[in-house]
Amino acid sequence: MAAKTLTIDGKQISADQGATILDAATDAGITIPTLCHLDGVYDVGACRLCLVEVAGINKLLPACTTRVHEGMVIKTDSERLRKYRRMTLELLFAERNHVCAVCVANGHCELQSLAYSLGMDHVRYDYRFPKWGVDNTHTLFGMDHNRCILCMRCVRVCWHIEGAGTKNVSGRGSGSQIISDLNQPWGTSDTCTRCGKCVMACPTGALFAKGATVSEMERDRTRLEFIVTAREKKQWIA
């Protein structure tokens, strides 16, 4: 595969053709904040947290879905980017009901830790306080729509790692919601294999192991990585 050379944050690097800016940066040891990206499944560019500046292009581009080009000059950190990232986070917090202090993911939440690391100290938008419910019908897992950020990681792992296709999205805009099968209680789903991959993938407290209390949801993503690596390296094929 042909290699491309480019500059990220003043650093000269080379990356495989077809790699994303995020891949290239990660290889070069440069961290770009992400939320919807999950190693092992394809990217959808849903959260807009990974936006970067590319010289010569006016709009900001998502690093997770933009491929590298020869000679690209990229900035992953600037006042402008930080401002946008904070704004994105504030909008996510304002959109649903996040009460970190009593959340199952408190202390282990990607949304929460990004808010800390990007210095989001308040939300400038009016909270919308929508009325979302909790689906506790599954024997093993629960889903609290109040905490869902619609990153669709659960949908992607469900379809593309497990291959069950239980999780889907219905509705539009901020009224979208994650559904099971034909928008039915999760516990009545015929397709769910109870593998728990969606729960492992969720960055927030939206998906949880049933019975979890505050701060108890620590995800073990290495299990997902193990499956993805095994598949990519064809470890299961004799």
Partner: protein, 474 residues
């Protein structure tokens, strides 16, 4: 024409309240009311949440006794799952509750109440506080602060954090006692015992000086309620409910805490968000009962630990039948600290507290669960109704300050009757009224499940309902 007096603010009480004192035609105090004017929204707020989250949510009701809510909530969860929790988990929860007793009682005694009876009623409020106490008796004040820290240390060793530890969960607890934690508690125990004995000696010395207070600070007949073991021994987490009357006779025993609604009624007062529970068979006002340290010692036949039992016998001699003066809540508190320390000491020799088998697992086996625990301030009930999925449909909490509300009214009335003359409430009288309430160590934010602070006011109201005097003390 009757008149009403209102005190504001009752400093050093967690939360806030208003006091109305009613005068009759002749200007004599006829009645008093201690009302809390807070919004009560907590029970509604929990509806729709999974019951397993409650041990994380309910400690947020009150920053003063989060542990009590945590434990009652976890117990209510056990009941919904219909499980017996592993024995080690039960012991660990008890250990945490004992730590909570020590820290809360130490705060009440040393920081909040001792300044009144050690520095004197006539000391101005600017000096009649823990700083004044530090100036007057540095060693005692410091030892008191350390005793409170000891209790907090136990909570932190188990729960990880001083405030809001979601460590107890439906079915058990999340982690055992570590060896390091065990050693830290062990090493601190002798100092904690010494402080408690000093405080007991001191209290008994000043008791003589405060004969009058013992006589009129909430000294009236009432029922008493608390948990006891099957043989009548003092209990704090587990056991069954017992009621005794002021003659000391047991009027109901071994009541199932889960069926509290069969023997406790809840009167809702129009001018307060606080519910006033009463003993159902006797109605209001005869069913008025007190909870908390004084009540627990009144219903108990023994403390169950040797040092505390020695004090307990002295305590029992202070009443004919039951010990009816609320001023002696302070004494009861110290005895409870003592038995807590003895019990903590016994646990330090128990290897089971290091067990890793700590959590029972089960689904929703009962659609209703009631969790009861003795909080430092009194018996605490958490009553949850869930749907098949374990989402809360209804939540009812009965807290100590609510249960003591009727008794607190009487206490204020009794003190006012003795001291209030005409339309004036001189400073020392205000201090006494304030202290009368403080005997119960009320936690107002908790009883109304709200956040925020509001000043407190004393109003003197005449027979015609006219406010003749309003005292707002800031």
């Amino acid at each position: 024409m009757s008149k009403r007096i209102v005190i504001d603010p009752v400093t050093r009480i967690e939360g806030h309240a208003k006091i109305s004192i009613f005068l009759d035609e002749s200007g004599q105090v006829s009645d008093a009311e201690f009302h809390v004017v807070e919004f009560r929204g907590f029970e509604k707020f929990c509806e729709g949440r999974p019951f397993s989250e409650m041990p994380g949510i309910t400690p947020r009701i009150c920053g003063i006794c989060p542990v009590s809510h945590l434990l009652a909530s976890a117990r209510a969860g056990d009941a919904i799952m219909a499980v017996d929790i592993p024995p080690a988990a039960d012991k660990l929860r008890r250990l945490m509750n004992l730590g909570q007793m020590v820290q809360s009682h130490a705060l009440s005694f040393f920081h909040l109440s001792a300044p009144d009876f050690l520095l004197g009623w006539d000391t101005p409020p600017q000096k009649r506080n823990v700083f004044g106490l530090i100036a007057a008796n540095t060693d005692l004040a410091r030892a008191g602060i350390r005793l409170r820290q000891f209790g907090q240390e136990i909570i932190e060793i188990l729960g990880g954090r001083k405030i809001h530890p979601a460590w107890a969960v439906p079915g058990g607890v999340r982690s055992p006692l570590t060896e390091e934690g065990r050693n830290r508690i062990r090493a601190w125990l002798p100092e904690a015992f010494a402080t408690t004995h000093t405080a007991l000696d001191l209290f008994k010395q000043v008791l003589d000086k405060h004969r009058r207070e013992v006589q009129i600070f909430g000294n009236f007949p009432s029922l008493f309620m608390g948990l006891v073991e099957p043989d009548g021994t003092w209990e704090h987490h587990g056991g069954k409910i017992r009621f005794t009357d002021s003659s000391g006779s047991v009027i109901a025993d071994q009541l199932d805490p889960l069926k509290y609604d069969e023997y406790i009624g809840e009167a809702v007062q129009s001018n307060s968000y606080l519910k006033s529970p009463y003993y159902l068979p006797l109605g209001v006002p005869d069913g008025m009962y007190r909870v908390g340290p004084l009540a627990r010692l009144n219903v108990a036949e023994q403390m169950g630990t040797p040092k505390a039992d020695t004090e307990f016998r002295l305590f029992k001699r202070m009443g004919h039948g039951a010990v009816t003066s609320s001023f002696l809540y302070h004494y009861a508190r110290l005895i409870e600290i003592l038995t807590s320390l003895e019990r903590i000491e016994a646990y330090m020799g128990d290897p089971e507290l290091s067990s890793e088998y700590l959590r029972a697992d089960a689904g929703i086996n009962s659609l209703r669960g009631v969790g009861v625990s003795e909080a430092p301030r009194g018996t605490l009930f958490h009553d949850y109704t869930v749907d098949r999925q374990g989402l809360l449909r209804k939540v009812n909490l009965i807290v100590a300050t609510g249960q003591n509300n009727l008794a607190m009214n009487q206490t204020v009335a009794q003190i006012a009757r003795h001291y209030v003359r005409g339309n004036e409430i001189p400073e020392p009288v205000l201090n006494r009224i304030e202290h009368g309430i403080r005997c119960y160590d009320p936690c107002l934010s908790c009883s109304t499940h709200a956040v925020g602070q509001m000043p407190m006011l004393v109003r003197l109201i005449d027979a015609g309902g006219r406010v003749v005097r309003e005292i707002a003390r800031g």
